[in-house]
């Protein structure tokens, strides 16, 4: 395969997103990363949940699966287990990831399949027109919370660290080069990587003005193997840190499954007829 440019990784389909939506930035960074990694599109699957962000797969030259709300991770796991040679990238919104789909994240962290999960985090439910999401701030006023929400937001990075996901990072759709680098690093990681990408919803929860002053790069001397330090950074409320919080190589799910199969097989693959004999 000859090297493809970022532009060549984009299909001709025009994204449905509102002009100025952070998701455009994510798509750009993704395609840049694919070009850097020289991924063969035929061996790549983009899997998504439901939401504005979930519309992404057909915009990338690859196989795609736009699934149901909150279930992108189990489906991505099935694809990876079905064919470990595929590059599997899961995408979706913060509602998809942390509300309806939140129950799957700890188990992805435990299993650790080599899947990159990009959460396009805008603090709101874009597709259903702006209700509060689990990462929206306390007191957020929306159509479904006219007096302000009464639930404080959850902290996706601290949560992923608590579950011991093996690669945990945060990016910002407005910092394209940095985001591209994060995606490349996540793709190089063997195991489950989660990148919480702040990707503002210009229409329902526009944070473009207030965000930049709060953002800070993770200090260059941060040891990504130090989970306790990663927690400290994640829990700081003066700054929103961007970069890799934590990275820890350990056996990937697809490798462990292969090991299990080798162990079970022992001397060689038994014929079905031999399994029958257990019942004679």
């Amino acid at each position: 395969m000859s090297k493809m440019t970022a532009v060549q990784y984009k299909t001709k389909i025009e994204p449905v997103w509102c002009p100025g939506c952070g998701d455009f930035g994510v798509l750009n960074a993704l395609c840049n990363a694919l070009s850097v990694k020289e991924v063969d599109p035929k061996n790549m699957v983009f899997v998504s949940g439901i939401g504005c962000s979930g519309r992404l797969p057909p915009y990338v030259q690859s196989y795609g699966f736009h699934t149901v709300h909150g279930r992108v991770l189990p489906i991505a796991t099935g694809i990876k287990v079905g064919n470990p040679d595929l590059t599997v990238i899961a995408v979706g919104g913060d509602g998809d990831a942390f509300a309806i789909g939140g129950g799957h994240i700890p188990h992805m962290a435990r299993r650790n399949p080599s899947i990159v999960y990009i959460v396009m985090d805008n603090g709101t439910y874009g597709l259903t027109k702006g209700q509060a999401s689990p990462t929206g701030p306390l007191g957020m006023k929306t159509g479904a919370s006219p007096y302000g929400t009464v639930e404080p937001p959850l902290n996706p990075i601290a949560m992923a660290l608590a579950y011991d996901a093996s690669f945990v990072a945060r990016g910002y759709s407005g910092k394209n080069k940095e985001l591209e680098a994060l995606i490349v690093r996540a793709m190089n990681h063997r195991g489950f990587s989660i990148i919480d990408v702040i990707s503002p919803c210009i229409t329902f929860y526009n944070t473009y003005k207030e965000l930049p002053p709060q953002l800070a790069a993770i200090p260059a001397d941060h040891d990504v193997k130090d989970r306790a330090k990663a927690f400290e950074l994640a829990l700081r409320d003066d700054k929103i840190h961007l970069g890799v919080f934590y990275e820890n190589e350990r056996p990937a799910f697809e490798d462990r499954l292969k090991e299990t199969a080798d162990k079970a097989r022992g001397a060689g693959a038994p014929k079905l007829d031999e399994i029958f004999l257990e019942f004679a």
Partner: protein, 577 residues
């Protein structure tokens, strides 16, 4: 010809069930046909356990049989519970160190002090089960060597000392009978001299069928009575190079299955009603994206948690209609232990061929029933795989292209030029999102019409008994054997009974059933649910509105018996005159 129903009852956790299983294996190795039924206590330990084993030297056993011929009662509770179901002239074998039965002359009674022999002669109380097997071997003519052979295979790993204790216990049982019991009955198990049978539970046969069909990825979450499928495949699937995942819930299980199928693999999950309830949203996704996959529902009594260890056939409507929108799927009902094996192969074949989810309905009774089957000839199985795109298809690839049979070639990730994005949003033939009502109408019709092709398969229904019956019996799923036995017994008495048993439940085999019912006035429909779910669907689909549909529905717990079905058929035939 011998045909004997043995029932074993005693305290749960004391080895009653495994004693019955050992007995079962010994008979199957003697070339006999077997049919078992068991009821476990709801508790993990303690409570009453029962296993019934029907043993015969016939070609096929259709049901667990009616009353017992032999009752082996390890304790008073077993006697109290089951004695009334021991037939007149039957044999009670009981532990007289535990209790004494009432004095009556209705049955023949052999007191054997299992406990005492185990404690005093062997020194290990639980060897009482082996003492009992030794006694049964002497009483009914099953060679004790068969029991010893199986003991060696089962307990050999525990060491020679343990094994010898068990052998001694068997011999003590034999000796006690020789010295103290005068046989007053004429029951004997006749080894048949035929090829030894495999003894499989429904769930084991089903799992083997899945392996034979080429299963590659299994995902599931534990639930009674489907967990034994998960456990069986956890052991066997990796040996064939496949992968098994115990997921965090049933939604994730079906998710993994959808993903694996998308990646080109044969995949399945198995669950019970509560799990299927969780899966229905994603079932719609699978129908919409035309993914081949198999979902097994081992039904249990519901709703909600219901009675997890009791059988029922109450998920039919959910299997057919469950989910929002109108998501076509194929629904098959497994009918016997043997059918569990072949039925799963059909399920995978149809899933692959029609690129559709297939729901396979079994139930607690069939899942746990053990029966003997002749070893399948794996070299003659027809195994189908999905239609892949040709080079010409890929030149202008359309994932959901409308073809004469509405089946569209499916590209698999890894194929050059097969790019497409599957989506649960309504889409065009090329796969692009589309909200035009006209396109929706066209695509929904494509998906529905596609699966109707399955009704041309030769196996979708099976007939028994008289071809033009005066009363027809149509049931579904695991009731097959019971119905067939009722038909055979009725016809022996001179009735004109016939049965049609559909193996496909959706799409409904309307044409096959209506053709069969030409000229029939009454149909009896036995099923295990409260509202007569199958009878309702049948009524909706009858072309001859004058046919009387007699719903024989009862909520779960215990399957219908052949005698009950026959009685209802007789009642129905009376109205004729």
């Amino acid at each position: 010809m011998s045909d004997i129903v043995f029932r074993f009852g005693g305290e749960g956790g004391e080895g009653v069930i495994s004693t019955g299983e050992l007995f079962t294996t010994a008979c199957a190795r003697s070339g006999l046909e077997i049919y078992t039924f068991r009821s476990y206590p709801a508790e993990i330990k303690g409570g009453h356990a029962m296993i019934q084993v029907r043993v015969a030297d016939v070609n096929i056993l259709l049901s667990r049989g009616g009353t017992a011929d032999v009752l082996v009662a390890f304790n008073k509770e077993a006697y109290d519970r089951h004695y009334k179901e021991l037939r007149d002239g039957g044999v009670l074998v009981y532990d007289n160190t535990d209790f004494l039965p009432d004095e009556d002359t209705r049955t023949i009674k052999y007191p054997i002090p299992f406990n005492k022999i185990a404690m005093e002669d062997i020194g290990i109380r639980l060897t009482k089960n082996m003492v009992a097997l030794g006694a049964l071997s002497e009483l009914f003519g099953i060679p004790q060597d068969k029991f010893k052979e199986i003991c060696r295979e089962k307990f050999g790993k525990k060491g020679e000392a343990v094994l010898q204790k068990n052998f001694l216990a068997i011999e003590a049982g034999v000796k006690y009978v020789q010295q103290n019991v005068k046989k007053a009955d004429s029951l004997r198990v006749q080894p048949s001299g035929r090829q030894p049978r495999l003894v499989l539970s429904g769930n084991e046969a089903l799992s083997l069928g899945a392996l034979a069909a080429g299963l590659n990825v299994y995902a599931g979450y534990p639930i009674t009575p489907a967990s034994t499928i998960l456990e069986f495949l956890a052991r066997e699937l990796p040996k064939t190079g496949g992968s098994l995942i115990q997921t965090e819930d049933e939604i994730a299980a079906l998710g993994v299955v959808c993903g694996a199928s998308f990646a080109g693999k044969k995949a399945m999950t198995a669950t019970s009603g509560p799990g299927l309830s969780l899966m229905v949203e994603m079932l719609g996704l699978a129908a919409m994206t035309e993914l081949p996959l198999v979902i097994v529902d081992a039904q249990r009594a519901g709703p909600s948690t219901g009675m997890p260890t009791k059988t029922e056939q109450s998920d039919l409507m959910m299997a057919i209609h469950g989910g929002h929108g109108e998501a076509p799927r194929i629904v098959l009902g497994l009918t016997s232990v043997e059918d569990c094996f072949y039925g799963m192969i059909r399920a995978f074949n149809m899933a692959e061929y029609y690129q559709t989810p297939v729901i396979v309905l079994t139930d607690q009774a069939l899942a746990q029933r053990e029966a003997s089957i002749v070893k399948p000839d794996t070299s003659h199985l027809e195994i189908l795989t999905r239609r892949l795109p040709t080079a010409a298809d890929l030149a202008d690839y359309q994932r959901y292209k409308i073809t004469p049979d509405n089946i569209s070639p499916m590209a698999i990730p890894g194929m050059p030029d097969g790019f497409y994005s599957a989506t649960g949003i309504e889409h065009t033939e090329a796969g692009g999102l589309n909200y035009e009502p006209a396109n929706h109408g066209k695509m929904i019709e494509k998906r529905w019409k596609k699966i109707e092709g399955v009704l041309k398969q030769p196996w979708i229904t099976k007939n028994y008994g008289t071809p033009n019956p005066e009363v027809a019996i149509i049931g579904w799923g695991s009731e097959e054997g019971v119905i067939r036995e009722a038909v055979e017994n009725g016809n022996k008495e001179g009735m004109k009974l016939g049965a049609m048993h559909p193996k496909i439940l959706w799409p409904f085999p309307t044409e096959a059933i209506n053709t069969y019912l030409k000229g029939v006035k009454r149909v009896v429909v036995p099923e295990l649910n409260y509202s007569g779910q199958f009878a309702k669907i049948l009524k909706q689909n009858l072309q001859d509105r004058n046919i009387d549909v007699i719903s024989m529905a009862k909520p779960g717990g215990i399957p219908w018996s052949p005698a009950e079905v026959l009685a209802q058929a007789k009642e129905a035939s009376k109205h004729y005159v």
